[in-house]
Each structure stands twice: as structure tokens, then as C-alpha cells.
């Protein structure tokens, strides 16, 4: 399965090995790992709220969109939810292609769309205060919009 929505951590190396073992004439693999930052000690933990059933379906649609735009040999997306401590993994995007440009662009596209379309919400638990929901950022909307209407990135 190309998409997993899970509480458990993931093993990026094992996922990458599985992708390579899947065959195809892979010349380039891009692995993006998103990690919980501590923001210089300000953050105690992130709490990721999720709508897992929709996340699964929505990310699968985004993966299909990526496959229709770039010649990809394989794609894998894992997104965690629940309580995540600084330094822990949040998200993994793996793209494999014959050539590097498709793998890079598809990975960026997937991340941009994940950020703005996948139903997850981050709440910050601060080291010395109550939790706050993270505000969506206009820059993420802009990043996703550069792929609109079949366009290539130009941001």
C-alpha cells in the first residue's frame, strides 16, 4: 500500500529498501523526512490531530495526481498522528523514478499538497505553557498553488 496513516514511528531505510526491491528501472530516489522541531527548547511536544480515514483517501488521491504528472516508478507516503516529541519523525515521502527531476518535483508536490490538503492539525504543547493550535501558513497555500492547473513550479 502506498499510503499509511499511523501512530507508530516508521523506518525510512526499510521503506526505501522495499521501494528498491519492488523492481522497475530506478535511477533516483528522493526521501523527504519531516521531523518535529523543538524550536530551540520552546516545544515540549506536538499533538497531531487527524481524520485518518479521510487522510488515507485524500493522500491516495494526491499520489494518483503525482503519478499522472511525473513518470514515477514508486511512491510511498507515511504520516503519523498522536503525540510526537521533538526529534521524532512526522512524515515520510519517498519517490522513485528513472531520472532525478521527476523524483524531486514529485516529492515537493506531494509535500506541498500534504501540507494544505491532508486532514491533520498540529497543536503545540509548550515547555512552559498551555497548548495552542498551529495556524495554517499562507506560504504553504502559495507553495501548493504553484502546481495548480498542471503548472510546473515557479516559486
Amino acid at each position: 500500500m502506498a499510503v499509511s496513516i499511523q501512530r507508530e514511528d516508521f523506518d525510512a531505510a526499510a521503506e526505501s529498501a522495499a521501494l528498491r526491491a519492488g523492481g522497475g528501472d530506478i535511477g533516483a530516489i528522493v526521501a523527504f523526512t519531516g521531523i518535529c522541531r523543538s524550536d530551540n527548547g520552546r516545544l515540549a511536544a506536538l499533538e497531531l490531530d487527524a481524520y485518518p480515514e479521510m487522510a488515507q483517501a485524500e493522500i491516495a488521491r494526491i499520489v494518483e495526481e503525482a503519478r499522472s504528472r511525473w513518470p514515477l516508478e514508486a511512491v510511498r507516503v507515511i504520516h503519523r498522528y498522536g503525540r510526537i516529541a521533538p526529534g521524532e519523525n512526522i512524515v515520510l515521502v519517498l519517490t522513485a523514478s528513472s531520472h532525478r527531476q521527476a523524483a524531486f518535483e514529485a516529492a515537493e508536490f506531494l509535500m506541498d499538497y500534504l501540507k494544505t490538503r491532508a486532514p491533520f492539525w498540529k497543536k503545540e504543547h509548550l515547555a512552559d505553557a498551555a497548548g495552542n493550535w498551529v495556524e495554517a501558513r499562507q506560504i504553504d497555500e502559495a507553495a501548493a498553488e504553484r502546481w495548480a492547473a498542471g503548472g510546473k513550479k515557479s516559486a
Binding site: 519531516g34 497531531l48 481524520y51 479521510m54 483517501a57 504520516h79 512526522i90 500534504l114 501540507k115 498551529v134
Partner: protein, 83 residues
Amino acid sequence: MKILYFAWVRERTGRAEEDIDVPADVATVGELIGWLKSRGPEFEHAFTDAAVIRAAIDRIHVKHDARLAGAGEIAFFPPMTGG
């Protein structure tokens, strides 16, 4: 009709999900939001700035003018901040 709430929409309404009978004249997502706001101050609070609230019908993003006819599961939530 099953309604789900996420993130601060859930915190403000005080519930994660509920099954409710929506009046027959509530035809769109936007009208459902208006009707929900009439149910009490916690809903008024959750949907005060209705324009920022996102909605999904049966796990697909929809706009506020989407029609409810045939919907099984409607979700309300703030803009996404995953990734």
C-alpha cells in the same frame, strides 16, 4: 447524518462526533453551519468565523455551497497544518 469535528472546532463544540437529524430545509454545508450555530453558544463560538471553517462530505473536501443531499458523513475542521 453523522457530523465530525476536529482540532479546535472539536474543542469548542465539546464533541468529536454526533448523529443528528438535520431539518429538511438545510440544503448546503453553509446552511448546516448556520443551523449548527443556532444550537447553543459552544456552536456559535466554534463557527463564529465561518469563512475559515473547512468541510468534507464523505471524506472529500467541499466548499460551503456544496449540497448535503446524499451525504453520509460531514466533517468540519480548521485549515490543515499537517506535513
